[in-house]
Each structure stands twice: as structure tokens, then as C-alpha cells.
């Protein structure tokens, strides 16, 4: 090669770093398809689908008692959980410069609401506090982070012109808070919407929220009642803006504690036993700590747990996450044109909006549950459900972004416009959204084990059934560490690709 052209980097075709990273993720996902179990095990999924569709077409809104209780409980748990999280998060945000606070928030965030619920069920039983804390604890970690980042962005100019000697408290209320307040309010409102979904899902572990009634209805094959429950849930979320007014918040918060149902006998005996006995690794319980045998036994115990349970659980969780992530990516790219002015008229976009609202308002856990009923326990229902839900969320955000693109008057239409004009312009944003969802998808994947898919949650759920809480705690810690690792990896990739570092409405 003597030509000068060969040595000039810009003169040869090559792929941008974003495209290369995407390609690597697709290859990984394809490789993950081999070990993944994608079988359909139900005998006649089509007749089940037909019965479900029939249920959707004939919703039974007259199962009033069940529906009313389910909705009220769902709202009450979400309200108290998010309120507690917002207040705690706001206080924690003031100390977010401390490494210990940041780390603690990261850890509680990394553990899914359902895992928190499973822990508190062991300590507090089916008391209302279980549900409230299960939402409040992880949400406090998220709120603290977002609030702190928002307060960080206070205008430096305004801070600089403050007279010397102004107290921290004064400058906080005069300069930092006012600008951040709207942001914080909006974010907390969005958190409440997420809280409704989390609250609904808590029903699957026995709390009296929507999920409980949904599981019952599904178990009885009463699809008309299930459809009614879900439809009312969508309406609730779609009309959130109208009934969740700041003026009414006080009344709601006063009423909510009286609405919560559940056993109220919290026994301190239980709490003490949980902390001092149950979660202590079995080989250490009542053993002589000076005896070498104790530590050998502990090592065996750890090795057994890590190789027999944690490792296969991690492998399954990662395999499922990577496939679901790439499936999400493809669906998001397929969905966003449905609501984009660049591609469809008002009528087409309305249909697109309805579809995306339903897909993203349904908690992924419930979607997985429904698909599991159809196809039986394998990774297939989980992948389809996770990709639908997350694809709809990212598709919605991309659709809104695409509306802001101004095209040349002579730009191409249809598929050419999609491939040459719109997708390349959105691609950085698209990857940023996707990498944000990565950690969320993994957190969700781990919890799906509760439904019988062999991810980490499966081993946690089995250990709970065996009342081996020491194992539960270890496996939950492993799950949290896996999440933190993915979070760090995602942040690293985003920084490498110089993708925007904050995408609020896409967080957890």
C-alpha cells in the first residue's frame, strides 16, 4: 500500500464507536440465546390467549368489592411509601457529598422493592409497615441521588453574588432550593407514578394490593375481572394529573394510614430473632467462634451457596438481561415512529400513544406474569415482557425527541427518512436511555425468579420457602453487588461514548 489515502484515518469507511458498542452488545445477546431456555411449555397457548383476549373484551367491572379494595390499597401503600422516601431522600440529599451516604443510597437502590418486601415479611409479617418500607427504602436511595444532583445545579452566579457570611441554611433556601423546587416536585410526582406500579406488584408476595387480586383472578381463570383490574389501573395512571393535586395531598396523606390493611401485630421478638439468629450464617449459629472447625464449616457453606446457587443464578440473570436489553433496543427503535410527527398523522399517532401507554404503564412484573400463564416457565415470556415494557418507555421518549428535529424541505420520506435522517440523529440519546435502563432491567430480571424463572430471585425465593434467611441475605447481597457492577459498567460506557449523563424520566 503506497497510496496516501490508506494512512489518512478519515478516508476509509469505518464504524463510529457508538455503532461498534451496539454491535458488541448484539453479538453478546445472540451468544446468550444458546444457553437460554426459550421453550413454550404450555400445551395449548393459543386457546389460553383466546380466553384472555375474550376477558379483555368483556371486562367485569362489577367485581366491585375486590376492585375497590385493590385500588385503594395500591394507592395508599404507594402514597405513604413515596412520601416517606421523598422526605428521607431530601434529608439524605443534604449529606450526599459524604461517600458513606452515597454508597448506602447506591446499595439500597440496587435491591428491588420486592426483595425488600420479602425481607420485611420475615421480620414484620404482613403488617402494613412491610409494604410501606419496601417502597420507601429503595425509593429514598433514588430520590436522594436525584435531589442531590438537582440541587447541585444551582446557579453558580447567584451563589457567588451572595454577601460573605451568609449562612448555609439561608443560601440553601434563597438560592439552591427555589430553582430546584419545581424539578424536585416534578420528579417526586413521577416517582409516585412508579410507586403505584411497585405497590401493585407487592401484591404478588401477599400484600393486599392490585397484584394480589390480579393473581387470584388469574388463578381462577377469571380473565374478565383481571382485565377490569388492569383497565382501572391504566385509567388511574392516565388521570394521575387530575386527582394528584398538591392541595389534596394533605388529605390523602392523613387518610392513607387508616386505609392500610394487614395484620398489625408487630412483635419485637421476631425482629430480635431475625437480626441475631435468622440471618447469621448457619455454621456460625451458636458455634464456638474460636474453633477452627466452625470456620471450615463456614467456608464450605459459602462455597456451596456461591457455586450451587449464586453462580447459576448470576449466569441466568445476566443471560436474560443481555437478551432483554437488546430486544428492548430493537423494539424501542420500532416503536418510536408510532408516536412521531415525522412519520404519522394525528390519527396514527393516537393509536401509537394508546399502545405505548398500556405497554409502559403495566409493571413489567405483571406483564411477565401474564406471559408466563400463556407460555409456561422459560425465559421467553420474561424477554418478551421486559422488551415490550422497556421498549415502550424508551420508544415514548425517543418519539418526543424526534418531534424536535427540523428537517430540510427536501428531505426523504418513509424508511429513508427513518434510517438516514432520524435514527442517526437520535442514536446517542437512544443509547443513553438504553444504558440507563440496563441496570433497571437487571434488577427486574433478578426479581423475576420469584415467578419461577431460574434467575437469582428464584434461589432467594426457594431459600425463603425453606426458611433459610441466612442464605436469603447472602443471595440478596450478591444480587445488589451484581447491580452495582452493571451500574458502574454502564456509567463507564456512557462516559466513553460521551453520552449525556442525566436522563431523569428514564431512571428506575
Amino acid at each position: 500500500m503506497t497510496g496516501g489515502v490508506e494512512t489518512i484515518p478519515g478516508a476509509r469507511p469505518r464504524y463510529s464507536p457508538s455503532v461498534r458498542v451496539s454491535f458488541v452488545f448484539v453479538v453478546i445477546a445472540v451468544a446468550c440465546l444458546f444457553p437460554a431456555d426459550l421453550s413454550v411449555t404450555t400445551l395449548d397457548p393459543w386457546s389460553e390467549i383466546r380466553r384472555m383476549l375474550l376477558g379483555v373484551l368483556t371486562p367485569d367491572f362489577f367485581a366491585v368489592e375486590a376492585i375497590g379494595t385493590a385500588i385503594l390499597q395500591t394507592i395508599a401503600f404507594a402514597l405513604l411509601g413515596v412520601a416517606l422516601a421523598a422526605v428521607t431522600g431530601f434529608v439524605l440529599a443534604q449529606f450526599f457529598h459524604l461517600r458513606a451516604v452515597r454508597a448506602a443510597c447506591a446499595v439500597v437502590r440496587a435491591i428491588h422493592e420486592l426483595f425488600w418486601a420479602l425481607i420485611f415479611l420475615q421480620v414484620l409479617g404482613l403488617s402494613p409497615l412491610t409494604g410501606v418500607l419496601a417502597i420507601a427504602i429503595p425509593y429514598a436511595g433514588i430520590c436522594a441521588k436525584v435531589y442531590a444532583e438537582t440541587l447541585e445545579e444551582a446557579p453558580a452566579a447567584a451563589l457567588n453574588v451572595l454577601p460573605a457570611g451568609v449562612s448555609t441554611v439561608s443560601s440553601f433556601f434563597y438560592v439552591r432550593l427555589p430553582d430546584a423546587w419545581v424539578h424536585i416536585k416534578n420528579y417526586t410526582f413521577y416517582r409516585f407514578e412508579c410507586g403505584l406500579r411497585s405497590s401493585a406488584v407487592l401484591g404478588f408476595v401477599g400484600l393486599p394490593t392490585l397484584g394480589y387480586y390480579l393473581e387470584t383472578a388469574f388463578g381462577e381463570g377469571n380473565y374478565s375481572e383481571a382485565a377490569a383490574l388492569l383497565i382501572i389501573f391504566y385509567v388511574l395512571i392516565a388521570t394521575l394529573r387530575f386527582w394528584m393535586r398538591p392541595k389534596l395531598l394533605g388529605i390523602y396523606l392523613l387518610a392513607a394510614p387508616f386505609l392500610l390493611e394487614g395484620a398489625s401485630d408487630i412483635r419485637f421478638d421476631n425482629i430480635r430473632r431475625f437480626l441475631t439468629e435468622d440471618i447469621v450464617p448457619a455454621p456460625l449459629r451458636g458455634a464456638d467462634l474460636l474453633d477452627v472447625q466452625t470456620w471450615v464449616a463456614l467456608q464450605d457453606w459459602l462455597q456451596m451457596l456461591l457455586t450451587d446457587q449464586a453462580l447459576p443464578g448470576i449466569v441466568a440473570t445476566v443471560v436474560l438481561t443481555q437478551i432483554a436489553l437488546v430486544a428492548t433496543a430493537f423494539l424501542a427503535l420500532a416503536f418510536f415512529p408510532l408516536i412521531s410527527m415525522q412519520f404519522f398523522g394525528r390519527f396514527g399517532r393516537t393509536i401509537g400513544h394508546v399502545f405505548l401507554v398500556v405497554a409502559r404503564s403495566t409493571p413489567e412484573f405483571i406483564l411477565v406474569y401474564v406471559f408466563l400463564q400463556l407460555w409456561g416457565p422459560s425465559m421467553l415470556p420474561a424477554i418478551v415482557a421486559l422488551a415490550l415494557h422497556n421498549g415502550a418507555i424508551i420508544g415514548h421518549l425517543l418519539g418526543r425527541y424526534s418531534d424536535e428535529i427540523r428537517l430540510r424541505p427536501d428531505s426523504a420520506a418513509g424508511l429513508n427518512r427513518y434510517a438516514f435522517e432520524i435514527v442517526p440523529r437520535l442514536y446517542g440519546q437512544f443509547l443513553a436511555f438504553l444504558f440507563y435502563r440496563w441496570e433497571i432491567i437487571m434488577r427486574e430480571t433478578a426479581i423475576l425468579g420469584v415467578l419461577g424463572i431460574a434467575t437469582l430471585g428464584f434461589y432467594i425465593d426457594s431459600a425463603i420457602a425453606d426458611i433459610r434467611l441466612d442464605r436469603v441475605m447472602l443471595l440478596i447481597v450478591v444480587t445488589a453487588l451484581l447491580n452495582l457492577a452493571i451500574d458502574a459498567l454502564s456509567r463507564g460506557i456512557r462516559a466513553r461514548l460521551r453520552l449525556s449523563t442525566r436522563v431523569e424520566s428514564c431512571q428506575g
Binding site: 478519515g10 476509509r12 469507511p13 424541505p409 427536501d410 418513509g414 435522517e421 440523529r425
Partner: protein, 223 residues
């Protein structure tokens, strides 16, 4: 006759910018639109554009490049309509030798050969403007409409760009801020002032001084 405007008001939703415009454009015309910024050059150009969009290659003031795509792809976009969609997609993920061969001479002429596979968004303003010109050249046809196509490049490059445009296209309509270049390249000068066409005549024999009045505030007799 490509286009005939008779006593038309032109403008945007907020109301007309240009009033009472009459203009004829014939195939083979080489027209320079001149006048102060804000005189309505872009408005007139947009009106012509809207009427001739199907046959014209455009060089808008903002080249409308896709920053994350390579220079090659941005130039290729001029011919999206000439090719089948599947071929376009193939060429997007895997630049075809045939298309590279067609585009390379253009970028070489305009001094962009080293940038052919760089992301367009990473280029300087002047380079981006030349990519926009290459796109129009690649699109081809007989008519080009340009809004200040050489505003961001130096004088030498401006001549290269204008030479290329006038060689490629039979009919050339350009809004120009450089009166010197306008007189050199155009065969007809259309002057705009105070929301109307105040001059429309062959450039032959005209000097820069003849166009001075377009850029002066006072002595236009409208007072």
C-alpha cells in the same frame, strides 16, 4: 419558463415579508439574489423552493447535515430518492464501492477527501458548508437553489464551490452576500430592498458601484 410570479405577496405565517413580487425564471438563468441581510433573500428563495422542490437541488443556509453520519453518507443522501430503499439501507451499514467512487471526485474537488468518513458533526462550519454543496452536486439535476452557499468559506474555496455549482447545474439561483462574486458568476442580478424587488437586470456591464444603493439606508427615494 420554469417559474413565473406575478404580483405576489411572499412570507411566512406572520404575514408577508415581500410584497408585490413579480419574477420570471427561465431554464439556463444564472441568478444572484443580492441585498442587505433581512431584505428578504431567504424568503424569496424559500418561495421559489416551494414551487420547484421536485426538480431542484438545495443548498440551504443551514446545511441540515446529520452530525453522527459520515460525510460520505451525508453526500449520498442527495440521491436517496434515485435508489431503492433496500439499496440505501445496505449502503448505510456498508458503504458501496460504486457510491464511494461516485462521491470521491466531489470531495476531492472541494478539499474534503481526508474527511470522507469522518462524522459530519465533527467538521468545522466551512467544511460542513462544503459537504452541503457536495450533497447538492451529487444529487445533480439541472437546477440548484442556494442560500449563501459560500458564506462560511474563504475566497479561494468560494470560487471552487461556485465553479463546481455552475459547471454541474444549468440553472443556478443563489442568494449571495458577496457582490463581487455575484457579478462574476451570475448572468442576472435580482436586487432586494425594503420588502420588494428593486432591481432585475443582466449583470453584463454592471459594476459593484451599481449595486451600492441596495446597501445604503438613505437615497432610495422612498423616504
Amino acid at each position: 419558463m420554469l417559474l413565473q410570479l406575478v404580483r405576489q405577496d411572499l412570507g411566512y405565517d406572520q404575514g408577508p415579508v415581500l410584497r408585490d413580487v413579480s419574477l420570471e425564471i427561465r431554464a439556463g438563468d444564472r441568478i444572484a439574489l443580492v441585498g442587505e441581510s433581512g431584505a428578504g433573500k431567504s424568503t424569496l428563495l424559500a418561495a421559489i423552493q416551494a414551487r420547484l422542490l421536485d426538480q431542484a437541488a438545495l443548498v440551504p443556509q443551514n446545511p441540515g447535515l446529520v452530525g453522527s453520519l459520515s460525510v460520505f453518507h451525508n453526500i449520498y443522501m442527495g440521491r436517496l430518492r434515485q435508489h431503492g430503499t433496500w439499496y440505501n439501507l445496505l449502503n448505510l451499514v456498508w458503504p458501496q464501492r460504486r457510491e464511494i467512487a461516485a462521491i470521491r471526485p466531489l470531495v476531492e474537488r472541494l478539499g474534503l477527501e481526508e474527511k470522507l468518513f469522518e462524522a459530519a458533526g465533527a467538521l468545522s462550519g466551512g467544511q460542513q458548508q462544503r459537504v452541503g454543496v457536495c450533497r447538492a452536486l451529487h444529487q445533480g439535476g439541472s437546477l440548484v437553489l442556494g442560500d449563501e452557499p459560500v458564506s462560511a468559506v474563504d475566497n479561494h474555496q468560494a470560487r471552487t464551490v461556485l465553479d463546481a455549482l455552475h459547471e454541474q447545474f444549468d440553472t443556478v439561483i443563489l442568494a449571495m452576500h458577496d457582490v463581487d462574486l455575484a457579478l462574476r458568476y451570475a448572468s442576472r442580478i435580482v436586487g432586494l430592498k425594503h420588502g420588494g424587488i428593486v432591481l432585475d437586470r443582466p449583470s453584463e456591464g454592471m459594476t459593484v458601484a451599481d449595486l451600492d444603493f441596495l446597501y445604503r439606508d438613505s437615497d432610495d427615494g422612498r423616504g
